[in-house]
Amino acid sequence: MRAALALRLALLALPLAAPLRAARAEAPGERLDNPELPTLDGGRARLLGAAGEVSVFVFARPGQEHSARTLREMAGCKADLAGKPVRFAVVVSSSAAPAEARAALAEAGLSVPALVDAGDALYGRLGVKLHPVVGLADREGRLAALVPYQAVNYREAVRARIRFLLGEIDEGALSRALAPPRADMPGATAASVASRDLALGRLQLERGEGEKALASARKALSLAPDSAAAHGLAARALASLRRCPEAAADVAAALGADPAEAQALAAKEACPP
């Protein structure tokens, strides 16, 4: 059980948060202290949310471009996860000008507790070393990850980790979110070009243009010689042109590959032996 938990938390922390491990006092999986800290508005608040909530705490530096962007991204992330047991907070250094910090939060549209880290004690204890960093703790208050700034896909990287901690997505979905599949150009493969020729051929056949449909089917077959659908279309086009002896070979090839190929069955019916 404990090993499984460690593995889950390690997955959250890696690969993106790995460089922070060496200097961090609390490693992923360790229960965090939950200090009550002063807030920018003069009150006090805890670092972590209530039991059962996933905690998100953003170490930000007012006046820094990356922090400003991160606060905006986290405002969006909070909106994405509205209504879910997730508690956001921001941590700013006591050396930051309070008015500037308040303005940064207001500009980002992020309305969350803003904790003041006196003497950067929390920052030092967690070994953060950077601004901005988004810290995540699971529902039991264990450190899950410290995610440093990313110029690309930061919001998605944080949101996916939160959803994983909430149990909404599994490890596979988390991995896909952190390393999205390559988005190749459609139509880059012979199969996709053949499929396009087939679609055109079907339209031509519907319009009664048997010769054109046959040409499209042959073009598709030149790219995908074993395609049952392309042989079926060729057979149907030939049948429509009353060239049944020629259609027989394509009927056989289509039904050999797919006994239920509809166009080939229709051609067979139109060309009785």
């Binding site: 690969p15 993106l16 948060a17 790995a18 460089p19 922070l20 060496a22 200097a23 530096r61 820094q64 471009e65 990356h66 050396s95 003497g119 950067d120 004690a121 920052y123 030092g124 204890r125 070393k129 950077l130 601004h131 901005p132 440093p148 700034y149 990313q150 110029a151 690309v152 896909n153 998605e156 990287a157 390393a179 999205p180 599949p181 390559r182 988005a183 190749d184 150009m185 459609p186 139509g187 996709s192 499929s195 396009r196 679609a199 055109l200 339209l203 031509q204 319009r207 243009e209 054109k212 499209s216």
Partner: protein, 356 residues
């Protein structure tokens, strides 16, 4: 390029009327849109390099109401629906997370459904087409002091972006690192000034302690892929030499994430563990009016063999000599053997310095 040729105007206007869907209007409102290009067939006499099969076959009524090339009438369905009725593979693109508004609004925002001088039936040369809307990128690409060859070679913009849809922000085909490494993984590649560029595949294989942005596959945290005024396409200032007078503005790149106070505060017990007691050794090394050691004196920015990307050695002088750092980590700090200075050891657990 002429937007509307005199001979093509009636057809072009008709085509634009057909394209005038509400979604197109929404997309145009979201981003400044370049003046629409004609989707009419190229006038007779123009050099046609590529032709759409149905147009070539004279099958106007596959898309239009009439099979009359002189008066084909409006198209019979919405543009996207019409195109995907043959180009079925594009249906998958709709499921990708990052959308391109012109693509969603209509394929004919970029493609001529009849014929073209350009590959893929594009309405204009690919980069010009992209820059027609992305004027901000055009400006960076054209005005920057340091250019990136990726914009002008191979598939140009499409080397990195998929204009139909993608799973990574900015329509990137993959995360930035996976794209960059596809070119920056070769030996003997030079930049525009003849300087050799690192083969990052082998460098990262040999050096397992990676900088956080490298680990996050986020080269764009430090580099501007479209062009920059800073060397190596850096997003902000970073000292190019071993020594530099300390000025935070020179370290804008590093301080974009790292805390500038780590160099500004003479003493600390929280900002860094590179300290002897509370004596901040980052301050000692870097914060000097004249010969401050720059980040590169001790840290390898992409990857190194030791924690904190502390480098084995640094090129020093003009003759390629490698100055060894001889850094050794200890349980509570580390030591540097005789190189820049006599062997010295530090410990962040040492008693804090007493204030005078």
């Amino acid at each position: 390029m002429p937007l509307f040729r005199p001979g093509a105007r009636p057809l072009a206007l008709l085509a634009l009327l057909v394209l005038g869907s509400a979604r197109a209007a929404d997309a145009a409102a979201a981003k400044p849109k370049a003046q629409a290009l004609s989707v009419a067939p190229l006038p007779a006499g123009d050099k046609v390099a590529w032709s759409h099969a149905p147009y070539e076959a004279g099958d106007c009524s596959l898309c239009h109401q009439r099979n009359d090339p002189k008066s084909p009438g409006p198209i019979v369905k919405g543009v996207v629906e019409l195109c995907t009725s043959c180009h079925e593979e594009f249906a998958d693109v709709a499921g990708r997370k990052v959308k391109h508004p012109p693509t969603e609004a209509g394929c004919t925002n970029c493609h001529n459904p009849h014929n073209s001088r350009e590959r893929k039936l594009l309405l204009a040369e690919q980069t010009a087409l992209c820059f027609g809307c992305h004027a901000d990128v055009k400006l960076v690409a054209e005005k920057s002091r340091v250019k990136h060859a990726a914009l002008t070679t191979g598939s140009k913009c499409v080397n990195c972006h998929n204009p139909h849809g993608a799973n990574v922000e900015h329509l990137l085909v993959q995360l930035p690192f996976d794209l960059c490494i596809s070119c920056h993984s070769k030996d003997g590649v030079s930049d525009g000034r003849g300087a050799t560029l690192t083969n990052f595949k082998s460098w990262l294989e040999q050096n397992k302690v990676w900088h956080a942005p490298v680990e996050a596959k986020d080269c764009s945290a430090c580099h501007k892929p479209h062009g920059s005024d800073s060397f190596r396409l850096l997003v902000a200032e970073y000292p190019a030499k071993f020594y530099a007078p300390y000025d935070p503005a020179n370290y804008a790149l590093c301080f974009g994430c790292h805390n500038d106070r780590v160099v500004a505060e003479p003493t600390t017990t929280t900002l860094t563990n590179f300290r002897d007691g509370s004596r901040n050794l980052h301050f000692v090394h870097v914060n000097k009016a004249e010969r401050g050691r720059t980040c590169r004196a001790c840290h390898e920015v992409h990857a190194a063999k030791q924690e904190h990307q502390i480098r084995d050695g640094v090129p020093y002088g003009t003759r390629g000599w490698i100055l060894k750092l001889n850094y050794t980590k200890t349980a509570t700090g580390g030591s540097c053997a005789k190189t820049c200075h006599n062997a010295k050891t530090y410990s962040y657990k040492a008693a804090p310095e007493k204030k005078p």
